[in-house]
């Protein structure tokens, strides 16, 4: 039912005084139906410059080969795979929000799932470009597919984690795309029915002829639930398999059975940080403060704290196991993270991921928007360094000291990475211009139960425990989109 009333002690998910269904549509579609503002154009210009840099650097790599990167005989994998794992990890938050939180019936996901899923898709695209460009001969990118001998190779080796990775990432990308697009259909139909002329034709094609009849909605909900059910183990499997690229090797530092859960927690950690980075800006620029409220921000910060702490425990376990194993190479690899020439990268990894996120224990910090935004970027810097530490520091000094070496990135390495960030933001900025950045149908679903106005009506109606009402009002004080004086009068 659309209208059971929710417990008053739960914080509202939609704030604002006179939010109607039409108001939700108008607010969410404002950036889609109008010309973008100055902030968007500035952001888009900068991002597309980055994307151009990416095109140039990747083309340069294709033309001259990966010799244009700073790799050497010892460090044969560096910024490329670091960037790949970093982007795939960032993608994980979108699926967590859209699938796992749906299974747990966390209604606050409704206003952030659309943009988080879009972020997933763009992040996996960025990740995939690394895979293709580090192949050296990208025109042979079809070789990991199970093709018969006539194509120049024997069958692919299904025992190899790298082949599992091909299957995992491609499945993950295409299933995420299906999930995201199916969820978009009702909202595309909303745009279609409000538009005229050519826009109407375009959105008409895109919306697949959606009508919103009873049977359509019933099937839609079944599809979404089952997609959520299969995406949940899928997302866990993807980063598990990514971690096995490292965990199943004999290289010290790449020989760690704790990698699967450790990588999954790290992926969700960095993904939520990226969602936070994007949404704190988006809600301000697009004026969506009533839908992405302080509750959403705090909830995401709590997940960052939880997953950051899991990552911290994994780091400690890694050190303990290196000590306990008695293997001198293993022990050296972990000591080398602090006393070796890359000590600064190790400090960035442990400092940003473990120490900085512990600040989230304080409610004042969790509900402070500028600090949350800065911390979300700190987390992503830390997570980039985590992958760099695991990959480059482990490789640069292993069994034979005569082959120890350092890794120095070239301008191509740096440009591919910086450019991929530009590419990501270009796609995200285009997304918020042409598609609804909030799932309107899903937000409308919770308007009558979880909005501030519905709860205010309950308070005005009386019949509630006064302590609970006090608790509720107290929790509202941290909301930047609520005028608390409305509550003090009574």
């Amino acid at each position: 039912m659309a209208s059971h009333s929710e417990s008053i002690i739960r914080e509202p998910l939609i704030t604002g005084k006179n939010i109607t269904y039409a108001q939700i549509t108008n607010d969410v579609l404002r950036p889609v139906e109008n010309m973008p503002g100055k902030a968007w154009w500035i952001g888009f210009s900068v991002a597309s410059l980055g994307a151009c840099l990416w095109v140039f650097a990747v083309s340069y790599t294709f033309w001259y080969g990966i010799g244009s990167w700073g790799l050497n005989k010892t460090v044969g994998w560096a910024w490329d795979i670091t960037g790949f794992v970093w982007w795939v990890g960032i993608g994980h938050a979108g699926t967590l929000i859209s699938a796992i939180l749906l299974l747990f019936r966390q209604n606050w996901r409704n206003s952030i799932n659309r943009s988080a899923e879009a972020m997933t898709i763009f992040a996996v695209i960025c990740a995939a470009t690394y895979v293709v460009s580090h192949m050296g001969r990208p025109w042979l990118a079809y070789w990991p597919l199970p093709l018969p001998n006539q194509f120049g190779s024997i069958w692919v080796n299904f025992n190899s984690p790298l082949v599992w990775d091909v299957f995992a990432i491609s499945t993950y990308f295409s299933v995420s795309l299906v999930f995201w697009y199916t969820g978009l259909l009702p909202d595309l139909a909303t745009i279609r029915d409000r538009a005229t002329g050519i826009r109407r034709k375009i959105y008409s094609v895109l919306s697949f002829g959606w009508t919103g009849s009873v049977k359509t909605w019933q099937r839609f909900e079944t599809v979404c639930l089952i997609l959520a059910g299969i995406s949940t183990p899928l997302v866990l499997s993807v980063h598990t398999i990514v971690s096995m690229d490292f965990a199943t090797s004999l290289e010290p530092g790449w020989h760690t059975t704790i990698f699967p859960p450790y990588f999954v927690a790290g992926a969700i950690f960095s993904g939520f940080a990226m969602v936070q980075t994007l949404l704190l800006v988006t809600r301000k620029v697009l004026g969506l403060e009533n839908y992405i409220t302080m509750f959403h921000i705090e909830a995401m910060n709590k997940i960052i704290l939880l997953t950051g702490s899991i990552v911290g425990v994994a780091y400690l376990t890694e050190f303990f196991i290196a000590y306990y194993s008695g293997g001198e190479y293993e022990q050296y690899t972990f000591l080398n993270r602090f006393i070796g020439p890359y000590w600064w990268a190790g400090c960035m990894m442990y400092g940003c991921n473990v120490l900085m996120t512990q600040l989230m224990w304080f409610k004042k910090i969790r509900t402070n928007i500028p600090i949350s935004w800065v911390l979300s970027i700190v987390v992503n810097i830390g997570m980039w360094f985590e992958r760099f530490v695991i990959i480059v520091i482990s490789l640069h000094r292993d069994f034979v000291p005569s082959s120890w070496a350092m890794f120095y990135p070239t301008w191509v390495d740096v440009s591919v990475f910086v450019g991929s960030i530009g590419l990501f933001f270009t796609m995200f900025l285009l997304f918020i211009r042409v598609l609804p950045s909030i799932a309107m149908a899903e937000v409308k679903l919770i308007l009558k139960s979880s909005s501030e106005q519905a709860k205010k009506k309950l308070i005005d109606g009386g019949h509630l425990e006064p302590e609970q009402v006090e608790y509720y009002k107290e929790s509202l004080t941290s909301f930047d989109s609520v005028d608390i004086t409305d509550y003090q009068k009574r």
Binding site: F167, A189, W217, Q218, M440
Partner: protein, 178 residues
């Protein structure tokens, strides 16, 4: 005889629309369909719509995907070209689990979603069959086939009583056609 084809009751509130359905059913007015901007839970039971069977389709597609890739891996690595990798057995079942799982998920997702599109007649470029343009925005629309139903004014009154903000007598079934 009027030229009205469909009578639409437009509601601004989902609960009032549910009330409208009850009122119509109490007066034995058959409902053609209901169009809403969001899923309304409990409406299927009221309208006597059967549960979706997409779950069965999803399960079958999942079984198909898992079987396909496992058989492929068996054929390629055990039957056609077994490789000696450190003397380990060619039929390494644990190693086939990740890909079997991935294709189970892949086939489930695509098979089920395409079945959904097929069954609901959704495809890119399909002309939308919309009875009221605000049904995807902020109106909850009950559509009643006008033909052979009790006097139209009575239906209008029933809908108005139940809380409809507007009642439309449409001469055309779909307003979305140009």
């Amino acid at each position: 005889m009027s030229s009205t084809k469909y009578i639409l009751g437009l509601f601004a509130d989902p609960d009032e629309m549910m009330n409208g359905i009850d009122t119509l059913q109490k007066n034995s007015v058959p409902i053609y369909d209901v169009y809403t901007p969001m899923p309304i839970h409990g409406i299927e039971r009221k309208l006597g719509i059967k549960d979706s069977r997409l779950g069965y389709a999803a399960f079958m597609f999942g079984c198909l995907g898992g079987t396909t890739i496992f058989s492929m891996a068996y054929y390629m690595l055990v039957q056609d070209w077994p490789m000696n990798i450190g003397g380990k057995p060619a039929f390494a079942i644990p190693d086939f689990i990740p890909i079997t799982f991935e294709w189970t998920v892949l086939f489930t997702a695509f098979g089920m979603t395409l079945t959904f599109f097929y069954a609901t007649h959704l495809f890119p470029g399909r002309t939308p069959r919309v009875m009221d343009l605000r049904a995807t925005d902020d109106r909850f629309v009950i559509a009643i086939d006008a033909k052979g139903n009790i006097p139209h004014e009575d239906i209008t009154n029933l809908l108005k009583e139940a809380g409809a903000v507007e009642v439309k007598h449409n001469d055309r079934k779909y307003v979305s056609y140009e």
